[in-house]
């Protein structure tokens, strides 16, 4: 473990958010599909959600006056780190069931790893999250591993 990761930061591994309940609407699927310039009609009609539709839904919505100077909402599942600039790192995602309008999903997020690394432009901290999504029948819909880079 690198010197940036203290025992206090490391103690965050295993912590989880309050689960988020998401009602999937056709309009939200259509908005996402148009914004990402999908070509497939089933996405543009909102019949089914594109694979990355749920990105960002694992975090609670925050009032504007609670956003930080970088515009980001304070993430209750992000420890106080010696580095502050947040970047997307990557995603690994497995799909088990299609997501369609009317689905009521439960999204659970937890921290599975925190480590640091020396990048070409300086030190980087990686926070790795596990995100699991189940439907109203408690069936697993999607399993995701997501990393955020703090520089």
């Amino acid at each position: 473990m690198g010197k940036l990761i203290t025992d206090e930061i490391r103690s965050w591994i295993g912590r989880a958010d309050e689960p988020i309940r998401l009602e999937v609407s056709r309009r939200d699927i259509v908005k996402y599909s148009l914004a990402t310039e999908q070509l497939n009609e089933k996405y543009l009609r909102g019949d089914e959600a594109p694979p990355m539709f749920l990105f960002g839904t694992d975090r609670a919505l925050t009032p504007i006056d609670e956003l930080g100077p970088d515009g980001l909402r304070r993430d209750p599942l992000l420890p106080d780190l010696p580095l502050k600039r947040v970047m997307a790192g990557g995603v690994k995602q497995r799909h088990l069931l299609p997501i369609v309008p009317g689905d009521v999903l439960l999204i659970r997020r937890s921290i599975t790893d925190i480590y640091d690394k020396q990048g070409s432009s300086g030190a980087l901290i990686f926070i790795v999250y596990d995100v699991s999504v189940t439907n109203a029948n408690d069936a697993l819909v999607m399993q995701q591993t997501q990393s955020r880079i703090i520089r």
């Binding site: 999908q38 594109p50 960002g56 497995r94 799909h95």
Partner: protein, 135 residues
């Protein structure tokens, strides 16, 4: 659309150019409720976070990677799993190209290398995908 009988390792998926704009990044970040200023506030992005320009979202590039796959599959298969890594930031004004290659075929399952490449030819977001192709 892939045909399992004719599919070969090394087959290329159709490439697509992406020309994100201020408007398309605004709509994307509104759709995912992402208020991070590096995606719309050029002055903040360059002066405070020291990026050379407004940053194209990493997950948006991830979405484009999935589109390479699902547009190729059409109604003839399913995307089972994928992963990608945002290796280098890309800025508004750049044209990015998505594409992929078949790397293995086993039964009805194929694996793919997928990529986002910048105008200099550098892969900024590499990834892989696993798909099931209908017989």
């Amino acid at each position: 659309m892939p045909n399992l009988k004719n599919l070969k390792v090394g087959d290329k998926l159709p490439e697509r150019d992406h020309h994100p704009t201020n408007v398309s990044l605004f709509l994307y970040n509104a759709a995912i409720w992402n208020p991070h200023r590096i995606h719309y506030d050029e002055r903040y992005t360059t002066e405070v976070e020291k990026h050379p320009g407004v940053v194209i979202d990493g997950p948006l590039q991830g979405d484009w990677l999935t589109q390479v796959v699902v547009n190729w599959l059409g109604d003839d298969g399913q995307l089972i799993e994928f992963e990608y890594s945002n290796r280098r930031a890309s800025m508004l004004g750049e044209t990015l190209t998505s594409g992929g290659t078949v790397t293995s075929i086993k039964g009805d399952t194929a694996t793919l290398d997928i990529f986002i490449r910048n105008e200099a030819g550098d892969v900024v977001t590499p990834g892989t995908a696993t798909v099931r192709i209908d017989a």
